[in-house]
Amino acid sequence: MNISGYILEEDLKTTNGANCRWGFAVRDGQKFFIKELLSPVYPTDEVELSREVRDRKRNSCNQFALRQAMLYKAINDCSDGTLVHISEFFRFGSHYYITMPAIESLPEELLYSGAFVAEDRYRTSRLLIFSIGRLHRAGLIHGDLKMSNVLLTRSPGRNITARIIDFEDCYWTSESPKPGDSIRADQRYMAPETFRLMMGEEERLTQAIDVFSLGLMIHEILTGNFPKYDSQYDYPFEAVLSGSPLMILKNRLPDPFDILLPRMLAAEPGSRITLAEAEKYFPDNGPYRNGAEIDGKNLFFRAGNL
């Protein structure tokens, strides 16, 4: 099947995709990851719809397309390569598609394997702070940070590194969801205030939701597990909201994560450290440790306060 010049290698599938179908395709000899969004759907001319319904749906789709194009441009502009570059966003027939270069990632199980050595774990954790920090400096919230949205990769002769994917739930800080909205964030990594908002409480979601999710991810990367919490709760945010502490394994965390994680996982968003502040805990916050080995461009950061 040919989707706007992308030749699919196989049928699109839904595996691990909540709101899309995805697969791999080749265009001009290059392999791409391609994602078809399940919503919205642009009614084609052949569909038997009244003019009123067709026009309303098309207007809604056009607004969506405009907003997404701006969003993806903002993400690409702030990326240093660790936020995976969005190659194209387009409509083909009734559906919208996103493409990005295909990335050969290491198996997810690596996270729980001894082959993922302490240095790799430290570097990956650090890289995530700086990468999401870039997104935050651009005024964006990822909104669905979880380990399955991090691809671990290794080029021959190089260290394991990480790339962040899936920006479909990304939004500008000015676009906080409304109380009572259903939010697609993975409940395992959900921040407590996201749940409060879903319950209808007045709450403004900020970049602190990403910080909480990232805190859980980094704990998982560095120790192999989430922080322990009372087993009567299914998810960390439930424990936090009920006043039950997350037991952070500080003695297994390398400096400075033993200091950072309690602040990233603070119950109240206002008490959480920002990623801009977190970056200052790394004295070597120059390009090399932050992923210069990835593609070597736009990797220089202004040195922060020590």
């Binding site: 839904t14 909540a18 919503s39 759907v41 569909v47 259903s182 319950m199 709760y233 299914d234 009920s242």
Partner: protein, 229 residues
Amino acid sequence: MNAHMMMRYNVDLVFCIDATGSMKPVIETVKDNALNFYRDVRAAMEEKQKSINTMRVRVVMYRDYYADHENAMMTTRFFTLPEEERNFEAAVDSITAFGGGDEPEDALEALGYAIRSDWNTEGIKNRSIIVVWTDASTHPIGYAIDEPNYPRGMARSFSELTEWWGDEQMESPYIRNNAKRLILFAPEKPYWTDIVNSWNNVIHYPSAAGEGLQEYTYHEIIDAIYNSI
């Protein structure tokens, strides 16, 4: 434990099953799939460390109003699983494939019933999932409107049914936009292609006459459900 601060997941599934004569070769497979769905979705959820608080299943069995009259559209209420599993199994077991008349069936009316199900709206996260199994195209909605047992209050046009399904901008009065999924195991024929090309949150697995659900497709559908939860 403060139940107020616990995530509650309620999943409602409605199976729309074409029970006309052409489905005879595959109806047993479809029934098996329907019966295994609950266990397989729950197992997949547990594997992903997610839990479902309430799962309910309803069946809409449809044929053709002109050809099958009072047997054209049969629905059950929602069965809560696992408590009412035996009732659900008995309902599914009782389905036999017959009738249907011409090739298209009255599946759009079945979708109308499915969309207007008594969905669970309690809890923070709900999923309202409709799964359709058929090997046939559909009549236009209202094709059999002059049949005595044709339902009153049914959508009068495909446009109105489309509004019943709703979208991001115009929330359906019957099914929540963020909660809904329509999984079609249906041929690339009218009005299935119309649905695919105008309704959101639809996943379509093209089917062919006489062919059941492939094992691969079955697992894809399970995946589509638990990933959306």
